[in-house]
Symmetry: C2
Subunit: 216 residues, 2 copies
């Protein structure tokens, strides 16, 4: 995200900068004075382009967050379609890796989840957008994929199962802070690999399936 180059146009620079700052410090702690200073443009530009701070915030979701979430989804689907056969294991693994080793840079993952986490605790219109445009459809698609292999459970149970898998993935991705505090381990690349394995295994067992042994 260090692409706030001056050749990008004020509008884009504002979106880039605002996203980084909002993620880092939260909506309230960031002033439009901060944003315009970092974006190297004038204070009034925010009002000119986005009709105010709130408008800028929503446009960050419209133009960055939603497309980025779609990239995770596309990555997942490409993976699924490349498999000969979709089993519970391939689905869960593809999902975990789409988040943890997917199309997003580490920096983007960080930003994305910080903003999402903030929305969960301070819900605004942006959360509704994410739920409607990305989360709900994605959950539905994953549920449909798993349906054939989990015949014995109800639709409602299936939904809760899928949510649980997402919960684990999200928790281990965005909860790095307390997790690091409790485990005493930094999120190095190596540790992230370990977490991917852990989440995949735990989810698979959780779904009631046995995972085939697989060299890590």
């Amino acid at each position: 995200m260090k692409t706030d180059r001056l050749d990008k146009g004020v509008r884009e620079r504002l979106l880039d900068t605002a996203e980084v700052l909002f993620a880092a410090d939260g909506y309230d702690h960031v002033s439009i004075r901060d944003i315009t200073r970092y974006a190297q443009c004038n204070l009034a530009a925010v009002n000119y382009y986005f009709k105010g701070k709130q408008g800028l915030y929503l446009d960050v979701f419209r133009h960055h967050m939603i497309p980025r979430a779609r990239r995770i989804r596309d990555f997942f689907w490409k993976r699924i379609k490349s498999e000969k056969k979709t089993t519970v294991e391939t689905v869960v693994r593809a999902l975990t890796e789409a988040y943890m080793h997917g199309p997003l840079s580490q920096e983007e993952v960080e930003i994305h989840h910080k903003l999402m986490a903030r929305e969960l605790t301070n819900p605004t219109k942006a959360l509704d957008m994410m739920v409607e445009d990305v989360i709900r459809p994605f959950v539905a698609e994953v549920s449909a994929l798993l349906r054939p292999d989990l015949k014995s459970i109800s639709d409602e149970e299936l939904l809760l199962d899928v949510i649980s898998v997402f919960a684990l993935i999200l928790y281990f991705t965005f909860g790095r802070l307390p997790i690091s505090k409790v485990t005493g381990r930094e999120y190095t690349d190596k540790y992230r690999d370990k977490l991917v394995e852990h989440v995949t295994r735990f989810s698979l067992y959780g779904l009631g399936c046995n995972i085939k042994d697989k060299e890590t």
Copy 2:
């Protein structure tokens, strides 16, 4: 928490009120003007008793959050000690119910998790206090309880397993908002029972153990 009665003393009223308001709207959105108005005391009282807004916030954690978390822990232990034999199932179930059907009123659960969720995304000194005083010891205790039944895995795996169980419990407790949006169901008592069953089952399977059938 509607116990902000005038006979409680200004100090206690301020702690009660501040907790409710901070949980509902977040530290930044709540002014000491709001707090003192609701607590029916003077604006200057916050500075007099707590040396400022931040001091009040930290004292909410010291005097409400930490003791409350300890109550969950105590509830869990009482339950464990009443069992003839501690199995993985009894531990997981006791843990889930301590959070979801435990010693806290629904209102307290709400407040507690909102404040914790806010700390996770906006970490302050309060999070360190919670981790050191409550979370880390509790995780260690649960790990020790499970150790005998999960001999085959390393300490590190065990820790991740325990964190995963907590992750599910916390997600389904504090993540009610997006979950309701996705499932389209309100968190009624009946639905909460269902969630307890789901979390317990998913965790047990996740830990690699088979759950005995049990009438729901």
